[in-house]
Amino acid sequence: MDFDFSPIVDNWGFLAQGLLITIELSVATIVAATLVGIALGLGRVYGPGWLRVPLTFYVDSMRAIPVLVVLVWTFFAFPLVTGITLPPFWAALAALTLHISAFVSEILRAGLNSIRPGQVRAARALGMSGAQIVRKILFPQAVVRMLPAYGSLLSVTIKDTAIASVIAVPDLMRQSETIAAQNYAPIEVFTTAMLAYFLILFPVTRAVEAFYRRVAHLGRS
């Protein structure tokens, strides 16, 4: 079997644009999902009772529905319901954020609940208020404790962005499909795409692991 990598060489700019979109969508999703997830997690653990029920329902449903279904619904059904049409990139960002933030909130919740009660007792004994205890004592420790699970979630997020190709976001996956079809070179093009995803993901997960090893003691009470 002969391999011909010339379609990749000839179209490298087109593919690089896709890679850039993948990176943009990943970074935007990670930032948005982290912020939303923190708000969700804090609301679920410390919020008033009337807030916890809908937040729990939201998180549980997001964990039960495939992200692809959320994406397709956001792009095709949401405009029919609301009259608001989102461009593909924004629809993908919204759907991925809806989905990933639920997992961020779960990780944060587990981190907060894993801190032993003596820490709260010590902070209360000093005279801190509930809000001060969360902000100064519990949240920073929970962030450290979440890092390993958060690192895994980062790689899941980057991988999940590939489904945006379904609604024609011109990301790495979509551009690869186009080139592969035009040149009938699926092996060469998709192998290259796999390699590109791996080259993004591998350093990210390793960096988070290495960072966690350096700071783990800050979360160990």
Binding site: R121, A122, A125, L126, I137, S221
Partner: protein
Amino acid sequence: MESTAAGLRKNGDQPPVVQYDGVVKRFGSLTVLNGVSARVNKGEVVCLIGPSGSGKSTLLRCTNALEIADGGRVVFEGQPLPKTEGELRHVRQRMGMVFQNFELFPHMTALENVAVGPITILGANPAEARAKAQMLLEKVGLGAKGGNHPSALSGGQQQRVAIARALAMDPDVMLFDEPTSALDPETIGEVLNVMKRLAEEGMTMVVVTHEMSFARRVANWILVFDEGRVIEEGPPAQIFDAPTHARTQSFLSHLGWNG
């Protein structure tokens, strides 16, 4: 009895810093404190001794309202403990507490642990709070360790930082809950020395401890707990050399205390 006790006790002629009037505490159907009455005078070191599960920690936690008594009352500097959480916070700010497991905040350096109370709670100027924290670390013999995180300190060092953290709030009374029980034998002494010096400076202290020689040497007054009650109280000489209650005698001999 009250009048003789007042005559015997340090600063017994002045109003007490902490007074317990028939304090009752229940957890579900379990009565953990069954009517505890006692007083802590200014500058006194009062040691709480007695078997595990007799309610000593619970009484300490009722003192600074980490637990709320179900019956009776706790009076702090002439005022019964207030009811609202906001008012209780102000009371807690005036009582220092030291825990068996130190409970230092692991994400902060030793210096930050000591400064966090004044900065966060009292709104102190950060530079001044840090200077004071450094002074307190020096006082507990850890002037060079301010930059270390708790994970880089021994148990005895962590507990001394915890004492400095409590002192940073300028408390009127210090509550110690078995401060040396989690320590290696080699480091117990350094913590007890800090406590002893604090007592000599006139700090009012309530100390739950199994260190009978510390109680014997440093305490002004001993409360013996058993099943949620104070079964016997008195100056150390009396409690250790001539305990009257059979349960006190058996508790002391259980610890290998032979006067």
